[in-house]
């Protein structure tokens, strides 16, 4: 292993991208193009879901009904969640995985390129179908993203929503199969599993989670469909069914789903922190095992979403302790990120700023989650704005901040240009201030007893709601800076990116030119452990 983990660049570009627009973007089998499609799609969905959130915050700006009918408000809460979870966060991670996993493991492409194309192109149709329900006579789903029966059976164009969810699920499962097949079968010689970047590890484990739980969601919503249209009684007590059964199945999917949206974020932070601390990650093996441990625990904690339905005491105690256990591997991860920074030669470029904000704000969200794991306390928090504050801390200042950090981190590799550091930092400071103004007061609202999913509220909650709405509008507006930075970087930036981009960056993706050529690693790279982020893990 004497020479660097570079490869012969002359082999990369001997056949470039198709010139025909349709052929390049609609029929693409190239992992970079499909990754770009996923990322653009998720950005569009972020703004659609975000506009729903703006409407929600506008209605809640002051007590009383202001702008919309209650049913439309309910449609907005359900659609906001469905669009953000399945349309923005998950496809963004799949896009990042598509772009970076082959580059990180030295593979020329994903293992199943045609299926990769299909996985993506299913999504726009699924979301067209889901969003079209807003204009249909039955209206959009209005019973929350959880779609609990019997409420969900009484609201919205259920068949459309169920079919859309099936399509999203098929897309996710195909994407997950592709990622596992790529990581297990396509790694360059010498890229052992325990030399892989943590991001690749996090995606490998996430993909297994997807395969294990997405079909359960598909089964649950299929049963909803048959209950409504085909006379079955899975969840209808009148026919011998049980609505709580739906909740068990849904949360058997739903809790691992939470980790599907955060484990790749852990991977991203584990790439960024060592780069800008200029130190190898502290405890690589512990980081990998912590992710695996969190994934395992995610299967045995689902009923902590259901403490208030009246579970047997033994079950409540089991799920309480199992939930508390998750804080151990999560704590290992937070400790190791801090330990990586400790004594490092740190610089604070935009990706690092978002990564540090992630560590602090995700930890706040984690702590409020730990509070909810306590059964007696959860009876107080259940269905209040405290829950809303908690999951937005882990999903917005957690998952979304990690995605934004990843975009800034790899943007020079994707476009070949450097983004504007000034505007990146403007985006960061605006985001980090307003996200806290938006969500922190919601803790107080919840503790004071304000229920979630209501369009009107007691005047006692007025002040904090107004502050939260102002934060929401400004946080939403701050994301326009992000779009400006992306467009400037892709099309107008004069500052060219180098191959390695960041001084402390290590790994195969930094050995290819910037922008990454259309085809990379057609000849497998020679692996040099010194060039890998975790090449000497066993030393």
């Amino acid at each position: 292993m004497s020479h660097a983990a570079t490869h012969d660049h002359h082999h990369d570009d001997h056949h470039g991208a198709p010139k025909n627009f349709f052929q390049r973007w609609c029929m693409s089998t190239n992992h970079k193009d499909i990754g770009t499609l996923y990322l653009i799609f998720s950005l569009v969905m972020l703004f659609i879901g975000g506009s729903f959130a703006m409407l929600i915050r506008a209605e809640l700006f002051k007590p009383g009904m202001q702008l919309m009918q209650p049913y439309f408000f309910n449609e907005m809460t359900a659609m906001h969640a469905l669009v953000m979870i399945f349309g923005a966060i998950m496809p963004a991670f799949v896009g990042l995985g598509n772009w970076m996993i082959p580059l990180m493991v030295g593979a020329p492409d994903m293992a199943l390129p045609r299926m990769n194309n299909l996985s993506f192109w299913i999504l726009p149709f699924a979301f067209f179908m889901l969003l079209s329900t807003l204009f249909l006579p039955g209206g959009a789903p209005a019973g929350g993203w959880t779609m609990y029966p019997p409420l969900s059976l009484q609201t919205g164009s259920l068949a459309y929503a169920v079919f859309a969810i099936h399509l999203m699920g098929i897309s996710s499962i195909m994407g997950a199969i592709n990622i596992i097949a790529t990581i297990l079968n396509m790694r360059a010689p010498g890229m052992d599993l325990m030399k892989m970047p943590v991001f690749v590890w996090s995606w490998l484990i996430t993909a297994f989670l997807l395969i294990a739980v997405m079909p359960a969601l598909a089964g649950a919503v299929t049963m909803l469909l048959t209950d409504k249209y085909f006379g079955t009684n899975f969840f209808n007590p009148g026919g011998g069914g049980d609505p709580v059964l739906y909740q068990h199945i849904f949360w058997f999917f739903g809790h691992p789903e939470v980790y599907i949206m955060i484990l790749p974020a852990f991977g991203i932070i584990s790439e960024i922190v060592p780069t800008f601390a200029r130190k190898p990650i502290f405890g690589y093996k512990a980081m990998v095992f912590a992710i695996a441990c969190i994934a395992f625990l995610s299967f045995i904690v689902w009923a902590h979403h259901m403490f208030a339905v009246g579970l047997p005491l033994g079950a409540e105690i089991f799920f309480m302790y199992a939930t508390m256990l998750i804080s151990v591997p999560t704590g290992v991860k937070v400790f190791n990120w801090v330990a990586t920074m400790w004594g490092g030669s740190m610089t604070f470029e935009t990706p690092m700023l978002f990564a540090i904000a992630f560590i602090i704000l995700f930890t706040i969200g984690g702590f409020s989650g730990l509070m909810m794991s306590l059964v007696p306390a959860d009876f107080q928090y259940h269905d209040t704005y405290f829950i809303v504050a908690h999951f937005h801390y882990v999903l917005v200042s957690g998952a979304l901040f990690a995605i934004i950090a990843a975009a800034y981190y790899w943007l020079p590799k994707w476009t070949g240009n450097m983004y504007s550091e000034f505007w990146g930092k403007m985006h960061f400071w605006n985001s980090v201030i307003w996200v806290n103004v938006l969500f922190f007061p919601q803790h107080f609202l919840g503790l004071a007893g304000m229920p979630r999913r209501i369009p009107d509220y007691n005047v006692a909650f007025a002040n904090f709601n107004m502050i939260s709405s102002i934060g929401g509008f400004l946080f939403g507006a701050s994301q326009l800076i992000f779009v400006g930075v992306l467009i400037h970087c892709a099309f107008f930036s004069k500052k060219k990116a180098t191959e390695r981009v960041w001084e402390g960056a290590k790994g195969l993706e930094w050995t290819v030119p910037s922008p990454a050529p259309y085809h990379t690693f057609e000849i497998p790279p020679v692996i040099n452990d010194d060039e890998l982020a975790h090449g000497h893990v066993n030393d």
């Binding site: 492409d109 395969i211 079909p215 059964l245």
Partner: protein, 45 residues
């Protein structure tokens, strides 16, 4: 049109079979969870 990855072009039959086996097992696992969800719902009644 579809470009087969170079590793696959150069791969031998054994690695192709391994890839097929990986994909088949994963697809079967997903199918088993789907069917299992219905079975569990029926048996739980």
């Amino acid at each position: 049109m579809a470009q087969q990855p170079a590793n696959m072009q150069q791969s031998d039959g054994k690695s192709r079979r391994r890839l097929r086996l990986t994909v088949t097992l994963l697809a079967l696992a997903a199918l088993a969870v789907y069917v299992g969800t219905f079975l569990q719902a029926v048996l739980a009644r």
